[in-house]
Every structure is written in structure tokens, then in C-alpha cells.
Symmetry: C2
Subunit: 341 residues, 2 copies
């Protein structure tokens, strides 16, 4: 099927067309097409560019076991009751043993399996980088262009991923649970500074009040500067739906603040900038790895390992050889403002 | 003081000169000099290139609370008894609240404060990237050139950092402790695949045998391929020094295997390659961020955010504008094989 037809059908609400586009994007961003995108992926991105930028993007992160899937599912239910179309991208860290996503309790998402206004996709992070799947920004764009009102990106808070989530999302939710030492962990991992809204889930457990106090103290200590938004803490028991309405209200308040303060435009500009930079860097990195780049960097690395050259001089030589070479065939293939929609 | 004098004094064993060099390197790699290195840093790297490559590099990682500092300290003591000079780089994730390193129980390192053949430095990760301090490879080079026999890099296992540690180290130790759900966490975070030697610390606690069984099962499930090295599990109670001699023996066995299998040369070549690539990418990224790159990427991002351009076409335009421009003044300033030592 042609890309244009798929895009039309996806925008008309056909869930299978959406699923197919996300799959193409996932393969094209990571796979055989090279790190800077397959031809098919690039065609899709051109076709949808004008239609994207309307959805609200919600990031949701936290340590394993805090109840991310349950909370996501409860939020999906709440937003569906409000008539919103909801997309979910669940990012699972790869396991070296399964070779794919640890689906965990994602099966609970089956609740929404028959609802065609809910789209759920688990994406595995590839390779050893530990971050978000590299196709996440592109998958987000597809759901956005397909007319989903709200897109949730859920990822386990181990390191890099939750920082990347914050750069993709309009609003970032950080989940903690009582008695897991989460508050301290959060501070260590730098997770606190990315939260727009904090959720103490499993708030019916021992230690809930203490955890809220700890979090509140940490938030009070932080310098929220001139932003005018101080992250609230919402207590929930997601498995029973408790506190979810309150959470939705806080999320709406944040959305309103984003709009009125100009922060939404700022965040989206920053998001576009880092997306462009990441793709450009991937392209440059691919060029390093490609012939003759690969031979060149290999020779330079050998000299560095042997103590014959320092790494900075080697990097200079590498850059000089890359930028001296004529741009690869892909460059300039397409006039920049040739947007098809 | 001139860089050449400092390098001479550091190589003569002067701890203050070593400390000063590491500080220059730390500031120069992260700071005002730009992401691809200050002039001073570059001068140091040229001066020491020929002297580096002799030290054994040991990476040590694990979740918070498993006893990394205690184990590091016990290993330092053991290697000092063997007459080795030992350097330690302890990488602390930055906290947005302290603005610097969470020193934690690094104070225990005070044990070695008066020993001039032990050098210990806590390095904070800067910014929000959550990984190793970007100056770590360069600080490692300084200690290596200064004649330390063994260099330990210790970092908390939250995400990216432990993967980076494995790429820097000859041998990577992964620490776990009983009853923390570490084994499962480890699998999720992909930590298992980076361990050359596993340490079950706090082995006197409840659940130690179960934790060893869990780990052993996971290691058995993994595909260790043709490498010929199957990671051993060593039980320790580092706070009382128990099991440390056994651990040292396993580390020596791994070092011997690295040498005899050719894996050491392979790892060091790979390390040099990724170091050169990282510096080159930082240089290219800086060029994107510099004028006129900054204005250019800003305009492109604005078009992307407004839906007038897709991110791949924007990246192509950015690369084309970068590679069309003449190389920056820094490039080619120094002949590549002008190593001063």
C-alpha cells in the first residue's frame, strides 16, 4: 500500500493504518534504512508534518513496581469518559535474555483492546543505550497526525529514559510509591527536576504520609525559579481508581498554565530542536561509520589506543575528513518545504 | 604553571599535580572551553598520549545501597597491600538540589587520605544527561599517564552510567545485595550483560543464597557466545573485608583471560574508537549550537514545530549547511602526530 493512502486512512481513524504506520516508523528509525531514517519513514514524516502538533503529550515515569501500567490504564479510562481519543506508547527496556520488550503487566491494557479510540503500542528500546526507543518521537508524530487528542508515553524510570521523556512531553508525571526509598532514589537520579506533577500511588499503604512529606520537602527545597509552576503531589490508589479525578484536574491545570504562560510553545520549540539535532547527529554518526568513515575512525582509534595520537586531535582529523567529503547522496534530495498533506 | 611542568610532576608521583590536572580536565571537558575541549585540556591530552594505556581499569556499579563505596575501599586496601598504586574516580549523579555530587558515604574513603599512592576523586555528572561525567575518559587518561597501576571507576547503577562504565573499563564488576529485588532489576536495566564479575555483597544477610541462585540462573540463561568467559559470582561482606581476597583472585583471572584471548586489545580499541567518536560528535554538536549554526537550527526547529517542515528534511538542511561551511578555526590547528611528552 502506498504511504499516502495509509496516512489518509490513519487520519480517518482506521486503527490498522495507524498500527502499520507506527511499525514502519519503528523499523525505519532503528533499522535497515540507517540511523537517519528509511526512505519510507521519511516519506511518512513529510506527509504528516502539517497535521501534527495538536495532541497533548503526557509523559509518565517511575521506578519499577510503583504502578505505572495501572495508572496509565486508569488515566486512559478517565480521558475516554471525557470523549478523548488516547494513544499510549509504552517504552520497555530491552532485556538481553528475551531480546525484546519485558511486557510485564502490560496485559492489563487489554481493558481497552476493543476500543478503537485507544491505541496502545509497546516499543522496545534497541541496543544497549538504555534510553527511549529512538523511534519514539516519530511514533508520537504519527499518533498526533492521526488525530489522537492525548498521547501518553510511559517508561520505567531507570536513568536516561525519564529525562528523554520530559523532553518529549508537554507534562511529565513522576510516580512514586511508599516505602521504596523512592524519594531519595528520585533525588539521586535527578528525576525530581523533571516532574510537573508528582503522584504518590499505592497511597493506602504504610508510609504514605511519610513519603508525601519527604516529597514535599524536596520540592520545597528545589529552586523552581521564575517558571511560576510548583509541582503538586497527588495521592492515588490507581488499582481502585482512587484519586484519578483529582489527578486529571491537576493535569488540566498544568495544561492551562502551559498555554497561558507561553511555556507550551517554548517546550515544543525545544522539542523540535532536539529532534532535528538528534536526527542530524545520527546522520553524521552514520557517516562516520560508513565507508570510508569507518576505515578512517578505525585507523584513528588504533593510533589513540597505541598512544600515538590523543583523542582530541583524532576527533579533529575525523571531522575534517567528514566535512571535506561531498555531502552524501541523500542530502538535498528533497526541497525542504515540499510538504505533502 | 605550565601544562608541561604539571604533567612532569604528575608523572613523578606528585599528588597535587595529579589533582590539578584532573581539575583542568574536568573543567575543560564540560566547561567554558566548549564540548570538544578547552585549549588547556587539549594540550594536556597531547602531552600525555604516549604515556597512557598501561593501567588496568576496573568498573564497579550497582544499585544504591549495595555497598559500592565499601567494596571500593576494601579493594583499594587489598591492592595497596600488593604494592599497587590505585586511582579511584567516583561518579556521582548530580542532584538538582545540591548542585553537585551527592557524596554519600564517600567519607569512608578518608581511610586512604594520607596515602599518596591512592588518588580519589568524586566527579559530579553535569547537566541532565544522567550518564558518566563527560570528563571521565580524560580523567582516566590522566591517572593512567601518571602511573597508577589500577584505576577504579565507581558509579551508581541508574541507567546509562553503568553501560558507559563497561565501555571504559577492562573489567566490569556488578554488585548486588540480597533481598533488594536486584536480580530482577538488573535484568530489566540490562545491567547483567555488562558484568564480567558479579559480587553478592552483604552475603551475611537473609536471602543471600536465594540471590546467588537467581543470579546464577540468569547468567546460565544468557548467551555468552564465543567469548570464553563466563562471569563468576563472588560473595562478600565488604564492610568486614570478607571475600575480598577471593574477589581479587577472580579479577586477576579475568585480567589474565583478557590478555590471553586478545579481548583486552579489542576492548581498548573499541574504547578509543568511542572516545574519538564522542569528541567528534560533541564538536559537531557545538558547531550546530554555535553561530551561525544556532540561528539555523532555531529557524529549522521553528518550521518543524509549526508543521511547515518535517524533522528529517530539517536535519538534512542542517547537515548540508554545516558541511558546506569551512571547518572552524580549531580544526587543523595542530598536526595530528605532534605528541609532546
Amino acid at each position: 500500500m502506498r504511504v499516502g493512502d495509509l496516512v489518509d486512512r490513519a487520519r480517518g481513524g482506521d486503527p490498522r493504518a495507524v498500527a502499520r504506520l507506527v511499525s514502519i516508523v519503528e523499523d525505519g528509525a532503528d533499522g535497515a534504512g540507517g540511523a537517519d531514517g528509511s526512505a519510507e519513514l521519511r516519506a511518512i514524516m513529510r506527509a504528516i508534518a502539517a497535521a501534527a502538533g495538536r495532541a497533548r503529550v503526557l509523559g509518565l515515569t517511575g521506578a519499577p513496581g510503583v504502578g505505572k501500567s495501572t495508572t496509565t490504564s486508569a488515566l486512559v479510562r478517565a480521558y475516554r469518559r471525557l470523549g478523548k481519543r488516547v494513544g499510549v506508547l509504552a517504552i520497555d527496556p530491552s532485556s538481553p535474555f528475551t531480546g525484546g520488550a519485558l511486557l510485564g503487566d502490560r496485559v492489563r491494557m487489554q481493558d481497552h483492546a476493543t476500543d478503537r479510540d485507544v491505541f496502545i503500542r509497546s516499543m522496545a528500546t534497541r541496543g544497549h543505550l538504555g534510553g527511549l526507543a529512538s523511534a519514539t518521537p516519530q511514533a508520537l508524530r504519527v499518533l498526533d497526525a492521526a488525530g489522537f487528542d492525548l498521547i501518553m508515553i510511559e517508561t520505567v524510570g531507570v536513568g536516561q529514559a525519564e529525562v528523554e521523556i520530559a523532553s518529549l512531553a508537554d507534562t511529565t508525571l513522576v510516580l512514586v510509591a511508599p516505602g521504596m526509598g523512592d524519594a531519595i532514589q528520585a533525588a539521586k537520579a535527578g528525576i525530581l527536576e523533571i516532574g510537573d506533577v508528582f503522584v504518590l500511588n499505592k497511597a493506602d499503604r504504610d508510609g504514605a504520609q511519610q513519603a508525601v512529606r519527604d516529597l514535599r520537602n524536596m520540592i520545597a527545597l528545589a529552586d523552581w525559579g521564575e517558571t511560576g509552576w510548583k509541582p503538586p503531589i497527588v495521592s492515588t490508589v490507581a488499582v481502585r481508581g482512587e484519586g484519578i479525578d483529582d489527578l486529571v484536574a491537576r493535569l488540566d491545570a498544568h495544561a492551562a498554565w502551559l498555554e497561558s504562560s507561553g511555556e507550551l510553545a517554548r517546550r515544543r520549540q525545544a522539542r523540535a530542536l532536539s529532534e532535528v539535532a538528534a536526527i542530524a547527529l545520527a546522520g553524521l554518526r552514520a557517516r562516520m561509520g560508513g565507508l570510508p568513515g569507518e576505515a578512517r575512525i578505525g585507523q584513528l582509534a588504533e593510533k589513540v589506543a597505541a598512544g600515538k595520537l590523543d583523542p582530541y586531535s583524532a576527533a579533529d582529523e575525523l571531522i575534517a575528513s567528514m566535512t571535506a567529503a561531498p555531502p552524501a547522496a541523500r542530502l538535498g534530495r528533497m526541497p525542504a518545504d515540499d510538504i505533502q498533506d
